[in-house]
């Protein structure tokens, strides 16, 4: 668990982060959103002390982050940045092995870990281990960046707009992969973005920042139904909030027993997708199928619409 206590950062007269306190649960994904200049990146960088706080402190599992030298702290915390920052003179395998090498793991353990991560990130080791970053596509470079951050099995992963440089299709894939990774390794993730859709898609809890202050820190649905501040309401988008709310629930969660002659959607689809399917086909209800394609229940238009109200 990460405890942020009264954290502040001043550069001269300018206050970039202003008295922020929050608790981040273990094994969760916390997304920090805000406009540019809101202090969200600075907040993230104060957790691994790439930026030293002017005031307040950060506790990781109850231990003050200032208890050890900053570079040793950072070896235990994964860090992913926009534009990946891969070392251009090192191969993919060497890039991934960076932190294990700093930690003096033995060669066999490093090799095994690199191999495992390449498999997890769908990069065939025979093809990619000895490749250089400039030989990869943007999406592959980004995956190697995340693999490098996860190499030493950190309990905490910090990500600063990690998907900002990717095109929409690859970004959606990268987001899905991240959710898988989080399930697989149980890593606690703190992710900074200015993309609200990304925040709603990934975040167990979302922190909204503006002008250095933390305006609201809640599960995504609460940001929509109970915005703490007009700025939060504006950021989440008045025109889209009903749709966003629908996108937070899956068809499987909302389905009721029964069958339908309408179109079929998978249980993992969101209600927003189910509604879209209904509108497109002009049907009154959809059949919900489980992962094996067996009918699991149905969803009617009324049921979906009821879920879109606060």
């Amino acid at each position: 668990m990460i405890t942020v206590e009264n954290l502040s950062k001043q550069y001269g007269a300018a206050t970039v982060v202003d008295d922020v306190s929050m608790q981040i649960e273990r094994n969760s994904i916390t997304v920090v959103v805000g406009t540019s200049g809101s202090g969200k990146s600075t907040l993230l960088r104060m957790i691994n002390r790439l930026v030293e706080p002017s005031g307040g402190r950060v506790l990781i599992d109850g231990k003050d982050t200032r208890a050890e030298p900053a570079h040793l702290l950072r070896r235990r915390i994964g860090y992913v940045i926009q534009g990946h920052g891969l070392f251009p003179h090192r191969t993919v395998a060497e890039n991934i092995a960076t932190v294990p090498r700093l930690l003096d793991w033995d060669a066999a353990r490093i090799r095994a870990r690199v191999e495992e991560l390449l498999q997890v990130f769908q990069l065939e080791p025979a093809t990619y281990a000895e490749a250089f970053p400039h030989q990869l596509s943007g999406g592959q470079q980004q995956r190697v960046g995340v693999a490098r951050a996860l190499a030493a099995e950190p309990a905490l992963l910090l990500m600063d707009e990690p998907f900002g440089a990717l095109d929409p299709i690859i970004r959606a894939k990268a987001q899905d992969d991240l959710l898988d990774i989080q399930c697989r390794f149980g890593t606690t993730i703190v992710l900074v973005t200015h993309d609200m859709d990304e925040a709603f898609r990934l975040g167990d809890r979302v922190a909204v920042m503006s002008e250095g202050r933390l305006l609201q820190y809640d599960p995504p649905a609460a940001l929509l139904t109970r915005p703490a501040d007009p700025f939060v309401a504006r950021l989440t988008g008045q025109a889209e909030r009903a749709m966003r709310l629908l996108s937070l629930t899956t068809a499987g969660e909302a389905a009721v027993p029964g069958s339908s002659t309408g179109p079929a959607v998978p249980a993992s689809a969101t209600l927003r997708e189910a509604l879209s399917e209904l509108l497109w086909c002009g049907a009154e209800s959809v059949a919900v199928l489980d992962a094996e394609g067996r009918p699991r229940g149905r969803l009617t238009l009324d049921l979906i619409l009821a879920r879109g109200r606060p």
Partner: protein, 248 residues
């Protein structure tokens, strides 16, 4: 025949010519004879050309090694946050080394360290600093910000970051600086002979003193061939070393 093959052939021919001339200069006597008057010797006969060429090269390499250590060290220092304040001073000193004519350096150095190789080394050392220093700074400064951030982010100390990330990425430019410095000094080193340093300048000076154009041409040609071949060899070495260092 492709351009690359032609270049390789030219290289081998130039090297063969140089080696042949240094090992058996008398074989070239008919070529240089038309340049002499009154039966003067067509080939330099006051010393062994091969040993002069090797001494020349040795002086240049020693000076370049010293310039490299100092210039790269200074370049690293002034690109650290703690050393940034020394940048203007270092730059001024290094610039003086380049603008102060080597002949003048010799004139100042001889009373201090005496005749021979030492004043030449000092002059070449000072003259060779600038390209290495400036290239080191540019090389270190052009490492992409995201790469530096990542290096710190994964937990490298400042020293580890310099050694594992910054210097390897700056290496192509640093090597280019060393190459420039070396090649400039192969030519410049000929003036060392005015203060009794062993080198190819001896041949040129002997030719000037005895009005023997054959000597002047021999000294000049051997120096020029060495400079060209050295430049070419170092460029090849650079390409080999830096094949993987590509920043996109």
């Amino acid at each position: 025949m492709s351009g690359r093959h032609f270049a390789a052939l030219l290289r081998i021919a130039a090297l063969a010519l140089l080696v042949a001339f240094l090992v058996a200069p008398q074989a070239f006597a008919p070529v240089f004879a038309p340049l002499t008057q009154y039966g003067a010797p067509p080939i330099y006969d006051q010393g062994n050309l091969l040993s002069l060429a090797l001494a020349h090269l040795g002086t240049v390499c020693l000076a370049a090694a010293a310039s490299t250590v100092v210039a790269v060290g200074l370049g690293i220092l002034v690109t650290r946050p703690s050393g940034a304040q020394f940048l203007p001073l270092s730059r001024t000193l290094v610039n003086i080394g380049q603008t102060f004519p080597p002949v003048a350096v010799l004139a100042v150095a001889v009373p201090l360290v005496g005749f021979g190789e030492k004043p030449t080394l000092i002059a070449l050392f000072a003259y060779g600093l600038l390209p290495i220093f400036e290239n080191t700074i540019v090389g270190l400064r052009t490492v992409p910000a995201a790469v530096l951030e990542a290096a710190s982010g994964v937990g490298m100390s400042a020293r580890q970051r310099l050694r594992a990330v910054e210097l390897p990425l700056a290496l192509p430019l640093i090597l280019e600086g060393i190459r420039l410095s070396l090649v400039i000094n192969v030519g410049t080193a000929t003036i060392g002979s005015t203060v009794a340093a062993k080198g190819l300048g001896e041949v040129i000076i002997a030719g000037l003193l005895s009005n023997n154009n054959a000597f002047v041409l021999q000294g000049g040609l051997v120096t020029a061939l060495m400079a060209v071949l050295l430049y070419d060899a170092l460029a090849g070495l650079e390409r080999r070393l830096c094949r993987t260092v590509r920043i996109d």
